[in-house]
């Protein structure tokens, strides 16, 4: 094709306006090169009307359109409330899930508390429960003081045979519970002072409103700074250390 510009051939840029006209499907001027006219005719054939096979998929596409426009045979206006209802269903599901989680948490918590009071938990957990909800202390634990000591709460404790046997020779049921006789008032436990160096003038475990008529025994030369607590959770005033011979317990004979 003489004179037809191709890339790399000189004069290739002169036909650009004609090429733009071909792309824009505009009519070429009559004096344009024949090659340009041929090219325009080819592209016109390329952009020609549809052939028979090219519209073969029309039925399927129309069916898809009618399904999308009307999925269950109702109008599109009737479908709108269904879409709006969807978030409400989602909210209901969420509230149900929250309720279920809350119920599981409550059941687990109650079960844990029951297990703690039944003293069936492992020792570390039982100790934790002992500190948190005043559950019974685990057997063989070194600390016999109830966790509610700092708050001044009274914590009832069940006596345990094993812990009683480990409380030393000075501990006895009669000494630990002097008012266990019928009709005698329950001793009142005052909270301990936690300040360092505090020496109590009287035993931390005082009988409360009911006091023994006998005066408290004299303090020994080496009084224990703090009274000790029995395994049963009652104040005996008996120090547990090695130099605990003198006692501050007014109930100990």
């Amino acid at each position: 094709m003489p004179g037809f510009p191709i890339p790399g051939r000189p004069g290739g840029e002169h036909d650009e306006p004609l090429l733009d006209m071909i792309i824009a499907r505009r009519a070429l001027p009559p004096d344009a090169p024949q090659e340009m006219h041929d090219l325009a005719r080819m592209l016109a054939a390329l952009a020609g009307p549809a052939e028979l096979g090219e519209l073969a998929g029309g039925a399927a596409v129309r069916a898809a359109f009618s399904q999308a426009a009307c999925p269950v045979g109702i109008s599109s206006a009737a479908r709108r409330p269904v879409r709006r209802r969807r978030p409400r269903h989602r909210g209901r599901d969420r509230s149900r899930a929250r309720l279920a989680v809350a119920m599981v948490a409550v059941v687990a918590g109650l079960g844990s508390v029951l297990a703690a009071y039944s003293d069936v938990l492992p020792s570390p957990i039982q100790r934790l429960a002992h500190a948190a909800v005043a559950a019974p202390a685990p057997p063989g634990s070194g600390s016999d003081r109830p966790a509610a000591l700092g708050t001044g709460r009274q914590v009832p404790h069940k006596p345990r045979p094993s812990s009683q046997s480990a409380s030393g020779p000075h501990h006895s049921a009669s000494a630990a519970q002097p008012s266990a006789q019928p009709g005698s008032p329950t001793p009142h436990y005052s909270p301990l002072s936690s300040s360092p160096g505090h020496r109590p003038t009287e035993p931390a475990c005082s009988p409360g409103p009911w006091r023994s008529p006998s005066p408290p025994p004299k303090a020994s030369a080496h009084p224990s700074p703090l009274p000790s607590w029995s395994q049963a959770g009652q104040c005996t005033g008996i120090p547990t250390g090695p130099a605990a011979a003198p006692t501050l317990n007014p109930y100990v004979p």
Binding site: P7, E35, E54, V61
Partner: protein, 200 residues
């Protein structure tokens, strides 16, 4: 009226252009659920879409179907005129063609040699092309011999009728690069046609 034209004729479809200045009205009707208006849109764009897909993918019919399904889904939310609609549709078609190419390459039951042969543009025999008259099919076969980006830009600019800026967005080039590539492609196409004897 359009439906009558669609149903008329049993041997050959009525292939006259169906949309002109009334495109916005037709589009609005289709968005409102009018099946006849949607068929009108389909008939207006489908030939160009299918020819474009024949150039860029061997699975043109399947990809065209997927494209229209996505158009059906997104049609209620579409906003724009005829140019924007065509650009949107051809963008979808290109994405679906790319997806089809990926899934085809992952398909284990297809031999690799067959896949490569299908992806390569088929170079028609010059003697066979010379025997054919100028037809859509013969020109399409000629365009398939061009490099992939040249063929695609010619189809989008000439067949789909998109502006250079829209084509640039679709193929990921600048409008200037699209214009230069289109010119080079047309020159090469003219040269090929002269050698093949397609032109008169």
């Amino acid at each position: 009226m359009v439906g009558d034209r669609l149903r008329r004729g049993t041997g050959r479809a009525d292939t006259r252009p169906v949309i002109g200045a009334a495109f916005s009205v037709t589009l609005a009707s289709a968005q409102g659920g009018d099946e006849t208006a949607f068929a009108c849109l389909f008939r207006d764009v489908q030939p160009a879409l299918l020819r474009y897909l024949h150039v860029i993918t061997p699975e043109a019919d399947d990809v065209a179907g997927d494209t229209w399904l996505q158009v059906v889904k997104g049609l209620p939310g579409f906003r724009g005129g005829e140019e924007a609609f065509r650009a949107w549709l051809f963008t979808i078609a290109r994405h679906r063609a790319v997806d089809a190419g990926r899934s085809r390459s992952r398909r284990p039951d297809l031999p690799l040699a067959v896949t490569e042969a299908m992806e390569q543009p088929m170079a028609p025999d010059a003697a066979d092309l010379a025997l054919e008259a100028i037809s859509t099919r013969s020109v399409l076969a000629l365009i398939k011999t061009l490099p992939r980006d040249h063929a695609e830009i010619i189809m989008l600019r000439v067949v789909a009728g998109l502006e250079a800026a829209d084509v640039a967005r679709i193929v990921g080039k600048t409008p200037g690069a699209v214009r230069v590539t289109a010119h080079r492609a047309l020159r090469r196409l003219s040269d090929l046609a002269e050698r093949a004897g397609v032109t008169h």
